[in-house]
Symmetry: C2
Subunit: 293 residues, 2 copies
């Protein structure tokens, strides 16, 4: 199977598990379940859940149970997009090529929909099919990665406060490690923990997640400069217009491309002891650096 075929198959597994996970449209109160499904099923690439599945496979788990744990990452990611897109934050009208949640359902419902997805993420992990001591680790891991201290929310705050500040390498590193890095790192760690990985395996997969996460963000910043809104499915060029701190702004485009390639190399190096079980993880790292949207 080629990588695109393989990823489509994994996306389908994740989508059907998400469909089972979220209350049906018809369940009262219907509006919020429609809004949750609208944003969740908007055609995301499911990169975080897929990293989770592949990390579990690298650590020796090939079963179906981990798919549900992986879904918690997409619930968190989608909640963060809904809240980020709100008028008070990034004020974005389009996401994944569709009108944003608050454009369709109104601001009040978009706020509550984000809250609901966040809450459902933790319920999901508390109920996955693995021993209770692993489940509490999964919940704590996801909460820390999503939280204020070195986690996603902390990164968003630093990002908002970083606008119009001098773009330094140090500030850039702090923001991206937290804002997107922490959840990508947690994606592989959740898979590894679910699978009962050894400490050595967990450390290696964590390093992989950190390097892939950084590469992902560098490429995201480059694409925001280079690609059209049409290709991205969201408003392009927003970083510059909002004076966000980005890799191209700090290092220039050429050096940013070199850095992404370097992080990709380090991600490969972290997987050296996993052999064929990590074959797809290596391909995904390459794809993240080569992607055009």
């Amino acid at each position: 199977m080629t990588l695109p075929e393989y990823l489509r198959a994994q996306q389908a597994r994740i989508d059907s598990e998400l469909d089972r996970l979220v209350p049906p449209d018809a369940a009262p109160p219907a509006t919020i379940h429609r809004a949750m499904r609208y944003s969740l099923m908007a055609g995301g690439k499911r990169i975080r859940p897929i990293l989770c599945l592949e990390a579990a496979r690298a650590a020796g788990h090939a079963g179906h149970g981990v798919v549900r744990a992986a879904c918690s990452l997409e619930l968190i990611h989608t909640y963060s997009l809904i809240h980020d897109d709100l008028p008070a934050l990034d004020n974005d009208d389009y996401r994944r090529g569709k009108p944003t949640c608050h454009k369709v359902f109104g601001e009040a419902m978009a706020i509550l929909t984000g809250d609901a997805l966040l809450t459902l993420a933790f319920q999901t992990l508390a109920e996955v099919d693995c021993p209770a001591d692993r489940r509490v680790r999964l919940v704590a891991e996801l909460a820390v990665a999503s939280g204020t201290v070195g986690g996603m929310i902390g990164g968003q705050v630093a990002d908002i406060e970083g606008e119009r500040q001098t773009p330094t390498a140090e500030l850039l590193d702090t923001i991206h490690r937290a804002k997107t890095g922490a959840l990508l790192r947690a994606s592989v760690r959740l898979g590894a923990i679910f699978a009962g990985a050894s400490e050595a395996e967990l450390a290696a997969l964590t390093a992989f997640g950190e390097h892939v996460g950084l590469a992902f963000q560098i490429v995201d910043d480059i694409l925001d400069v280079e690609e059209s809104s049409e290709v991205l499915g969201k408003t392009a060029g927003k970083d510059a217009s909002q004076q966000k701190i980005t890799f191209p702004a700090v290092y220039g485009l050429e050096r940013s491309r070199e850095m992404a390639a370097q992080e990709c190399g380090l991600a490969h190096a972290a997987l050296v002891d996993f052999g064929e079980r990590a074959g797809r993880l290596r391909q995904i790292a390459d794809m993240i650096v080569q992607r055009k949207s």
Copy 2:
């Protein structure tokens, strides 16, 4: 010790645990930690954590460990107030007698502060000092009580959609069972589960929580009609001006008062097998019905 003295001592225990739980003001990014503390330390009555502590005591746990679990309820309650007060929702300028979170820190920060408190609630429960199988139950319990299906968010959505609808007894029951009832019910259940309560004890304490929760909401609705904003520390008379469905609107004031007293009686009846260990729970039920703010 009189009940007011006892409650003040319990509030102090909870406040100092919350202080240990939330990252310090100075921890970067400082703004959100200041905002979290601003709303959390605004002088709440801590009724949910206290119900949790007393339920644990009734089920035989007299130690300190449960205080941290109890704090998760205040984190959820405070996040819901911050998001509820936003301009897109209730648009309230005052809460507990102080300017609301978004009036002080801005809308973007208030949204993220609510998200952060919600996230911290689950991290807290995942890390409390009790066996892992109980901890995953606590996480799932709180998530369901806060969620869309019969939980707090579901109740908020039903409440928003219920404005300007005909106020029927059935709609009122559905909204309040979810909007405030679910978290009050979860408050006693968290304490009971933490303490390792038997199924019979858990069922009795759950019944107590449901009756107390209903009494609490009836009295809240009555106070909104009868008391001034100054006494309540929040805008009074908002239910009527927003055409909310309330107990006085459906049943009238006199019948609402009778219903609150009846629920209080049922709450007492649920505790019949607990003897002196539930003494404070009984006093709290009485206080909830007799309170003036």
